[in-house]
Amino acid sequence: MSQHSTTYVPKSAFGKWFESRLPIAGLVHSSFIAFPVPRNLTYFWTFGAILVFMLVAQILTGVFLAMYYTPNAALAFQSVEHIMRDVNYGWLIRYLHANGASMFFIAVYVHIFRNFYYGSYKAPREVLYILGVIIFLLMMATAFMGYVLPWGQMSFWGATVITNLFSAVPVVGETIVSYLWGGYSVGNPTLNRFFSLHYLLPFMIVGVVILHVWALHVPGQNNPTGIPIKSGKDAVPFTPYATIKDVFAVVVFMIFFAYWVFYIPNYLGHADNYIPANPAVTPAHIVPEWYFLPFYAILRAIPDKLGGVIAMIAAILIWCLMPWLDTSKVRSTAYRPLYKQFFWLFVVVCLLLGWLGSRPAEGWYVIMSQICTAYYFAHFLIVLPVLGFVERPLPLPNSILESVMGVQKGGAGLPSGANAEPQTKG
């Protein structure tokens, strides 16, 4: 078996000269080549790479769209149609960008729920995890403002409904809203500043992603067993093992992505957004993009305006408390028979909330939203803390290798003790 060096030694004279001035090759080598990766990672762990791909894809397509797009209330709709009709491959770039947002969110939701299932948010990965929540919030802001840019009916009314949420703030609410709008209603100044911020925020996401990856490389990756790497045999070097797996997964994801773009490019959008914005007519149903629906359902479940806004914001911010709300000593749900059932119940409740968010806010739907919202918060505030005390987890394996291969079997991995994860309460 070939030797996997853990430290980078430049071979050429130029390499030595450069490395002593900017040790970036060494950084890349230790982070993405020699970095020890648990050998039992499933495809759920490839979504990090998929998300990096989606971020880059969105920025690239977005930059090219911005070369033709006009952020002006009188011209925006027309300029998008110009891209769709006259710009060479404009339809492709725009459909990639529009569907890319949905793909980005599909990937991020898989990533988030993988983290919930395997307890990746627990010590020592709290900061890594909270940085992830921040990225998610930035993604939501970026996606919302991006949806406003084509200036169709749903753009306009979505912007009106969401910016009006801020008017629920006592005393200064109305002032905040007029500062968001730059006028007395959603209009040209609003569109202009949304474009500016929609272009800025992705680069802020890049910044937080760098911190997220940095924070990942301190404790190393979690894995399906939830127990840390104990010896070199538990791990393989990042390159080529994780790299090739990630690349394969990204290409499979691209097939999925391409299906939407080429065959049903408007399925995830709203027909109303092909009607130019009209401030005098509200569409019959104002529905946000699918990825916001669970939170929209929570907003509407609370009959009070301010209360609804607070509940919606709390629904995401409560994620930040998970590392401390979860009292279980075991990370991976694979060894938590009772929690496993609650986890799937939580998934069902989230899906139900998403569906309810797309329904009109009346009758049965409101009552169901209220029940689901109550359970959503109960999951974090009751289930997570209580279960840690009452649940008897299954016995944990001694090592990753034992779990997946039996104790003695197994091929070559890293030299032993290469990068033991700091011992935690698990």
């Binding site: 990672l41 090739i244 799937w344 139900l352 016995p395 034992e402 091929g411």
Partner: protein, 294 residues
């Protein structure tokens, strides 16, 4: 417990979705279109007939402002000849200017011009049509849809059903039927079976035999000159105006899919070969409870 939850969820979804889908307006019937599916293409003759219907029936009230005459000759559309398009454009008067004297003037259209709208602005359109401006038709096939309800919105993903706009338009054009007994239709409104709320401002736009279709050698019209056929033809034309690169999109899509699948296959075997160096890939965890090492 999880199973029970799923069952309850399924029961709720199953019960409430049809109730919603049933709604007030019927769901338009699904038609078969030449441009459906992964290899769909437009029927040129149908697009040309559809353009004729638009021009002779719809154009008096509805604009087509995102379409230029030149588009009619471009590949993937009705594909009229360049000469036909030039002649057609010249039949329209286009406002241009200002000239040297500073005045606006009218001149015959050129292929690069867009279709002139029937009204100078939306208020004029509304004023001339009982208070409601007839919508521009360039994007109408993508701007109209209907709710199909659970579980169809899931199956639609797999069968690539994206013709809801087209199906709705045909249903609407054929939907001018007698209102149910006892229904009061307000002045200026018309009863339509498929229009949401049923009262539509547009009167029945076309009747049988109104538009003459090109004849074949036998002197018979290429397609039946009926409202049913007019509706299908003009709808196909409007699907093209809404999505002029539909054919290119599906063609490129097939090539991209093919390439990606081959690449994914190569990557899969490369990955297997690389992982063989460490004794093959292992994933996940043993199914607990495992035999525990003392």
């Amino acid at each position: 417990m999880m199973k029970r939850t799923l069952l309850i969820a399924a029961a709720i979804l199953g019960l409430s979705a049809p109730a919603f889908a049933a709604g007030e307006t019927p769901v338009p019937p699904q038609l078969s279109w030449s441009f459906q599916g992964p290899f769909g293409t437009f029927d040129r003759a149908q697009l040309q007939r559809g353009f004729k219907v638009y021009r002779e029936v719809c154009a008096s009230c509805h604009g087509l402002s995102y379409i230029a005459f030149r588009n009619l000759a471009e590949p993937g559309g009705p594909e009229f000849s360049e000469a036909q398009v030039r002649a057609l454009a010249a039949e329209y008067q286009i406002q241009d200017g200002p000239n040297e004297a500073g005045d606006m003037f009218e001149r015959p259209g050129r292929p690069a011009d867009r279709f002139p709208s029937p009204f100078p602005n939306e208020n004029a359109a509304a004023a001339a049509n009982g208070g409601k401006a007839p919508p521009d038709l360039s994007l109408i096939a993508k701007a109209r849809t209907f709710e199909r309800g659970f579980p169809w919105w899931i199956t639609d993903v797999f069968r690539q059903y994206s013709e809801n706009g087209a199906d709705y338009l045909v249903a609407l054009l054929n939907g001018y039927v007698e209102p149910p007994a006892g229904t009061e239709v307000p002045a200026g409104g018309h009863w339509n079976a498929y229009y949401p709320g049923h009262i539509i401002a547009m009167p029945k736009p076309v009747s049988d035999g109104q538009v003459e279709y090109p004849r074949n050698e036998a002197g018979q019209p290429q397609a039946p000159e009926t409202v049913e056929q007019y509706a299908r033809d003009v709808t196909a034309f409007l699907v093209w105006t809404a999505e002029p690169h539909l054919e290119a999109r599906k063609r490129l899509g097939f090539q991209v899919m093919l390439f990606l699948i081959v690449l994914a296959g190569l990557l899969y075997f490369t990955k297997k070969k690389i992982w063989a160096r460490v004794g093959g890939e292992v994933e996940g965890h043993a199914t607990p409870p495992m035999t525990h090492n003392p």
